[in-house]
Symmetry: C2
Subunit: 257 residues, 2 copies
């Protein structure tokens, strides 16, 4: 789930399980909410409920970070916020570039959660010359030609790809060549990257398909053990699953004014 080709051998002594890392942001968010309400301490039980996990898991997760709690009392909210932030690397701020300023790219640029969590949108990049100079989320869009220059002069190591699928690998290659080592990919394609580069993928249609699977199963259960196979046209299925006929793939390239 995590990356395309990572093979982190977990040789490092500081081996925090991947599953734990994936939950730290969840805890951080819950803790931040408590912090804003000036709650001084919290028990594993309470925090777990707020984060949507069970308390044993939470305690085990925290045990990988160290012993930051107080027995009989709980965890100091502020201290824990700091420790998790540090662990996640959020005490520095990360410049990110977003490539592909269509609907989705614009949504990402406007997403408030970035700025407030240690990330800074260093640049918005799009291949369409007509987009160049247009302000999106208060930042002028730059042309793809500038990509390498932007990456290097800003020391960007994290890139977000929100281009159509057909352009994604090419953009990815350029990002990596320019020095980016972590990529968040919204395009519905498998990206190939060299060792040492992390890729995480977010795919809207995959999430929906997983929901559909469970939804179908619910319906099937009502009707009895045999899910009442919808026989239907074998041929239809290929069409159902088919990509749009668009020039290249899914993600819409343009954005309305």
């Amino acid at each position: 789930m995590a990356t395309g080709r990572t093979h982190r051998p977990a040789t490092r002594s500081r081996g925090i399980p991947e599953a734990t890392v994936a939950r730290l942001p969840l805890y951080l968010r819950a803790l931040t909410a408590l912090s804003e309400r000036s709650v001084p301490t919290v028990s594993s039980e309470e925090l777990a409920a707020a984060a949507g996990v069970n308390s044993a898991k939470l305690r085990k997760d925290f045990s990988y970070l160290g012993s930051y709690g107080t027995r009989g009392v709980g965890y100091d909210v502020e201290y824990l916020v700091y420790q998790i932030s540090r662990e996640l690397g959020l005490t520095q701020d990360w410049p990110v570039v977003i490539v592909g300023i269509g609907n989705l790219g614009a949504a990402l640029a406007n997403y408030g959660g970035f700025a407030s969590r240690g990330f800074r949108v260093a640049a918005l990049i799009d291949a369409d010359p007509a987009m160049a100079g247009k302000p999106v989320a208060g930042i002028g869009v730059q042309h793809t030609d500038e990509l390498e220059h932007i990456i290097e002069s800003n020391g960007v190591s994290i890139g977000v790809i929100a281009t159509p699928a057909g352009a994604a690998q090419q953009v990815c290659d350029r990002l990596v060549a320019a020095g980016v080592t972590s990529i968040l990919n919204f395009a519905p394609t498998v990206l190939t990257v060299p060792d040492g580069v992390d890729v995480r993928k977010v795919d809207l249609s995959i999430e929906l398909q997983i929901l559909a699977f469970h939804e179908q199963r619910k319906a099937g259960e009502e009707a009895g053990p045999d899910g009442g196979a919808p026989v239907a046209a074998t041929r239809a299925a290929a069409a159902v699953a088919g990509e749009g006929k668009g020039p290249d793939g899914d993600v819409p390239a343009v954005m309305p004014a």
Copy 2:
């Protein structure tokens, strides 16, 4: 990662592992691409490469669906597309509603991958009366007042929440009350739902934070085993992790009593 409160005991005989279900859409996409190029058959090795997994895993995954391959030959592309589509429930089309037509909601509405994969956007819903009637992606936005009516008259069972965090739980409750049993949540909040309702979450800032963690570790390894602890201001950390003071800041209060 899957759901908020699912507890599917996998009692059903047809127990396909969750991890396998999560990969089926990946295989389906790769197969669809092959199908469009009129490739008749594919080996586990080839398909695995196209989907970005290893071949043993793929074969094991397929073994849960049945024996759809031919030894010595491989898998029939069209047939497999059909089988996976059916397994995922994509041979019927699912009406979905999208609630919250901001940047992200609009991006989702325009996302071509829905229509082509068994999903149909039945309605776009927003709380802002000024949005009502405006066409987004060719569909007129409807006001939240219509929510229950829309759900019921269209038989919608899948809802997408793209509202600000503060509104998400309330929207979720209404969706569920009206009959929605699967929710894809883009708001950065933990949703509480009754048993039998599935929730999947997509959270942009969480994905970035996970990348930041790995990115930091890469940087740390160059510099030596001890990541050079940045002592710094303990106070600063709370700010770093804190929500922006924006109009409707992300994280709402903790659990209601």
